[in-house]
């Protein structure tokens, strides 16, 4: 664990030697993945603990009903402010509120249905499952993009194996440990942005070191798949727009 933390610190500070030594190890991917999973779990720890504490307490149905009614009142206030701009049919609020109240009642009745194991245990297992699923989500996003970067880097003359490159680029997750403060208003968002930019810098360095490429080529390999994806989406959007306009004009 200590070694893993040292790796996280050294690579977060973009120390070249740390990357080179990491890539040269036969277990680079294993270590990279372990770090990625650890960081993601730590970043998601606070929301998990908040849900956990909330879910081990017995549920008061009346409290939940009060919270739901409060949300309906807030919605009605929004409707009032919308009325200045949109001509809403008379009595629409009453209809929406009646349907929402019936929906809330249905939800609360489902919540009250019995289960084989105690309800708090089920809720805690659900929180635990969601928390433990976080690393899989991050790995899916990272590996899905990394295979395109691997291809781009190879075409630019890169020499890393899949294991070496993936092991190195997995380190991009380290700054995302700042996500543990994600719940703090304003600061959480700023830290998230900082972690993203820092992560990109680590990613580029990891591509450069693992593929023995210059930083310039590593930047190209890193952003090329994103640019191509963006261009494809733009082309798709434009085509749809043109077809829609043609359809409307005919």
């Amino acid at each position: 664990m200590k070694e893993l933390l040292q790796l996280a610190v050294d690579t977060a500070l973009l120390r070249h030697e740390a990357y080179a030594q990491h890539v040269a190890r036969p277990d680079a991917l294993k270590r990279g993945l372990a770090l990625l999973a650890l960081v993601t779990l730590v970043a998601g720890l606070v929301p998990f603990l908040i849900s956990f504490v909330g879910d081990i307490r017995p549920v008061d149905i009346e409290d939940q009903r009060r919270e739901a009614n409060q949300a309906i009142q807030e919605l009605l206030t929004t409707f009032d402010s919308m009325r200045q701009f949109i001509d809403l049919p008379p009595g629409i609020e009453r209809q929406i509120v009646a349907n929402m109240e019936a929906g809330i009642d249905m939800g609360l009745r489902i919540e009250a249905l019995p289960t084989a194991l105690p309800k708090p245990l089920g809720r805690v297992l659900q929180d635990l499952g969601q928390w433990l699923s976080l690393p899989f989500g991050r790995v899916a996003g990272w590996i899905g993009y990394a295979i395109w970067v691997l291809l781009a880097a190879k075409l630019l003359g890169g020499r890393a194996t899949a294991s070496e490159m993936l092991g190195a680029t997995a380190l991009y997750a380290t700054p995302h440990v700042l996500g543990i403060l994600g719940f703090v208003p304003c600061l959480g968002g700023l830290l998230g942005l900082a972690a993203t930019l820092w992560g990109i810098a680590i990613y580029v360095k990891a591509v450069a070191v693992s593929h023995r490429l210059s930083i310039g080529r590593a930047i190209v390999a890193t952003i090329l798949p994103g640019l191509l994806l963006g261009a494809l989406l733009l082309m798709g959007g434009l085509t749809t727009l043109i077809l829609a306009l043609l359809g409307a004009s005919s």
Binding site: P26, D27, L29, K30, L33, Q95, A98, N99, A102, G103, D105, M106, R109, I110, L113, P114, T115, A116, L117, K119, L121, G122, L125, Q126, L128, G129, Q130, L132, S133, F136, G137, V139, A140, I143, G144, I147, L151, K154, T161, A162, S163, L166
Partner: protein
Amino acid sequence: MKALIRLAWEALFLREEPYTEMRETPKPALRGLGLVALVGLVVAVAGLVGTALEWATSPNLQDIQKTVLEGLQAMPWYKELQYEPEFVEGFLRSFDIGWRVFPQLFGAPDLVSGALRIILLPLSLLIIWVLYGAVAHLFARLMGGQGSLSQMLGCTALSVAPQLLNLATFLPYVGVGAVVGTWTLLCRYLALKSCHRLTWGRALAATLLPYAALALVVASFTCLGGVLAAMIFEGGAVQ
């Protein structure tokens, strides 16, 4: 058995050694068969444990169905329409059909499906393994590959290793998601590269060509189905 799991575990981390070991082992296809069946079985059993725990912590599905129906029927929009007999009949029919489909789609815990997976998962993994292995072998040979079909099947059996991530579903409510598919692709690339001693570009082409061939077959069948349907309906309309 322990050696097979060790091999799959190392293959999961995309190391070349397990693929080389599998290529050089006597009867690699037979060893691969054992590995695919074992991984499928272990993953399905782990999944069943997770499903059982989810089932035990969820209300009975029929009770939920009854509560939802009563809840919908208590809603003002339903009360306005309930005096139209056609609406009530159509609504109940749609609700019944929806209830047969949606809980499965949204992953409602089903013990019978979970138990059936103990047979179906290894079986489906075996079929996919043989089909992909045979087609990829053909493309790899066309690209100048030197491995035998048995070696190829042995090496591609290691691409079942990412299924080991599904062992996490031993815990209820854990979702592994799309990572297994992408990881499998990487393992297949490594299997082809290692088994046939191909360059990275040729190995990549041989890895992806079976997917392209499958897409082509599906597209052809879809077109053919469309043409046949059009002919049948047009024929019916003429008559």
